[in-house]
């Protein structure tokens, strides 16, 4: 990999081959300490270094949402941030949503509502939906289904399971209101 990068580097600049940094992250409640090159995205760190391959690399350009994770509790596209920028951060991936054998309510709702076909976008949909429920406080009132569709528009499903995804998220939203708070 080093030699490839070297040959592609601009002629005027000395090649950068080993800009490595120590990064400490808490991933799914497990503290991790890694040495990474500056150009490694958070997505690649999760998949290639920690073997957390639930998070998917769909487009690698922030357009599909398959790489969505929770970064310090907020949903982000892990393909559009560098691992070195996230030193000290807490990351939750789809692997961290369940409590032991007990699925996250959204995971259960996706199963109950048949909210996927191929399943490739599902980890991103789930993490995005978890983040979305926390964002609703700042959102205007309105029709829930319309709001869910708008707020989930950063996650593409090429199988077209959108009606079921919307329904699954609405189930959890409704249930969480019954309990007097967001999930």
């Amino acid at each position: 990999m080093g030699s490839e990068i070297e040959s592609m580097a601009p002629e005027a600049a000395p090649p950068v081959t080993a800009d490595r940094h120590n990064v400490e992250l808490v991933v799914n409640k497990v503290p991790r300490r890694l040495e990474v090159e500056s150009w490694v995205t958070l997505l690649d760190l999760l998949r290639d270094r920690l073997d957390l391959i639930g998070t998917k690399k769909g487009c690698d350009h922030g357009q599909c949402g398959a790489c969505t994770v929770l970064l310090n509790g907020v949903r982000v596209n892990s393909c559009l941030t560098l691992a070195v920028m996230q030193d000290g951060a807490e990351v939750v991936t789809v692997e961290g949503l369940a409590e032991g054998e007990r699925l996250h309510p959204l995971q259960q709702a996706f199963i109950d509502r048949d909210a996927f076909q191929c399943g490739y976008c599902t980890p991103g949909q789930l993490c995005s939906a978890v983040g979305m429920l926390d964002e609703l406080d700042g959102a205007p009132d309105g029709d829930d289904a319309v709001r869910v569709r708008e707020m989930m528009s950063g996650n593409v499903c090429r199988c077209g399971a959108y009606p079921q995804i919307t329904q699954a998220v609405l189930d959890v939203l409704t249930a969480s209101r019954g309990e007097g708070g967001a999930a």
Partner: protein, 363 residues
């Protein structure tokens, strides 16, 4: 992605020193990274070093000395849109931000970064095609190619790209100021002079110096517009797409319903947010009627020119201006995004009662 070195700045001074050190090649600040990293993956941006500017404490949103609001350069777009003072005093800003990108990207992208995002012209992004913006002197693929999303105003023989931001259209309409710093000192740049037209230097999107860092964006007091402001965005799908045409419109109405002040800026039509003071002047002193809105649309689009594929944008922009001014009159904050949902109900805006007679005949 090409290799680069990375450092984290802990103070503004550290960041400015790092930006000033271009000895081995271009040094870029990275904040949200949502556009820069994408451009680096596509090999369009080739910095040799990145300076992380997320830990400088520039993410505050607070009142300005002039009675307006200071939006920290590193405040996230989502945090800005949902800030209570922004929502109450500058609903146009919230509406524009919420019309852009996806929730995930709005959570990451910063206010300063939003100003500095590059065009989404396909030719700019495709390193296999000529592009005067990416590589000056190579030509423009869009002028003879696919130009559906391209400029109808202010374009040059060199470049017909458009600026992609929604936020910036609202900032232009409100007359914001961009505060910047470098090792040389501080500057305040009026918003209409921050972005530039392509001319014969399309590689330069803005008047920001290479070593300068945006520290804050200042909104002047504009409370008189809060009740009647709108961000209208017309795009190919209902969410998560760039504007074909967008309009930021705001009206200040006196007790008799006559226009006391007006703001009008267009997005998706030029290399920068397009604001024409003469078009606003057309409205001042007039009754807010469809005829007055038509006249303002005529004026703001004066000199509009088609590139072929995008001929539809001229009548589209005209109608969008008329519609946006009508929405502003009615106190409808947006046609899209969270604030544009058909079921949107907000706190009732404070302001003069609407004169329904004036809008009755509007198409």
């Amino acid at each position: 992605m090409r290799a680069f070195t990375f450092s984290t700045a802990r103070t503004v001074e550290e960041a400015l020193d790092a930006l000033a050190d271009g000895a081995t090649g271009p040094v870029r600040p990275i904040a949200g990274g949502t556009n820069l990293l994408d451009l680096m993956k596509e090999d369009v941006a080739r910095p040799v070093a990145l300076v992380d500017v997320n830990r400088l404490g520039l993410d505050e949103i607070r009142p300005s000395e002039e009675g307006g609001l200071l939006l920290g350069a590193m405040a996230r777009n989502a945090a800005t849109a949902r800030n209570p003072e922004v929502r109450r005093r500058y609903p146009l800003i919230s509406a524009a931000i919420l019309a852009g990108a996806s929730p995930q990207i709005r959570n990451m992208a910063t206010n300063g970064g939003n100003l500095l995002q590059r065009t989404r012209c396909h030719y700019f992004y495709d390193v296999g095609t000529p592009c005067n913006k990416r590589e000056p002197g190579t030509g423009c693929g869009a002028i003879t190619g696919l130009a559906r999303q391209h400029a109808i105003l202010g374009a040059s023989e060199q470049c017909i790209a458009t600026h992609p931001s929604d936020f910036c259209v609202a900032l232009a309409a409100l007359g914001a100021t961009v505060h910047v710093r470098s090792t040389e000192g501080r500057r305040a740049i009026p918003f209409d002079r921050f972005h530039r037209l392509p001319g014969d230097e399309p590689q330069r999107d803005t008047t920001l110096g290479e070593n300068e860092l945006i520290t804050a964006i200042e909104l002047p007091p504009a409370d008189e517009f809060a009740a009647h402001s709108t961000y209208l965005k017309v795009r190919e799908r209902a969410s998560y797409a760039f504007a074909l045409v967008s309009v930021a419109a705001a009206l200040d109405l006196d007790e008799d319903g006559v226009v006391r002040g007006a703001r009008l800026a267009l997005g998706g039509v030029a290399h920068k947010p397009w604001r024409v003071p003469a078009a606003e002047a057309v409205l001042v002193g007039a009754r807010p009627t469809p005829a007055a809105f038509e006249a303002a649309a005529e004026t703001v689009l004066e000199g509009a020119r088609s590139q072929g594929d995008n001929a539809f944008k001229i009548p589209l922009a005209h109608r969008a201006v008329v519609r946006a001014l009508g929405m502003a009159l009615d106190g409808v904050p947006s046609n899209t995004g969270l604030l544009g949902l058909p079921f949107f109900t907000s706190e009732p805006f404070e302001g003069p009662p609407l004169d329904r007679m004036d809008t009755e005949e509007q198409p």
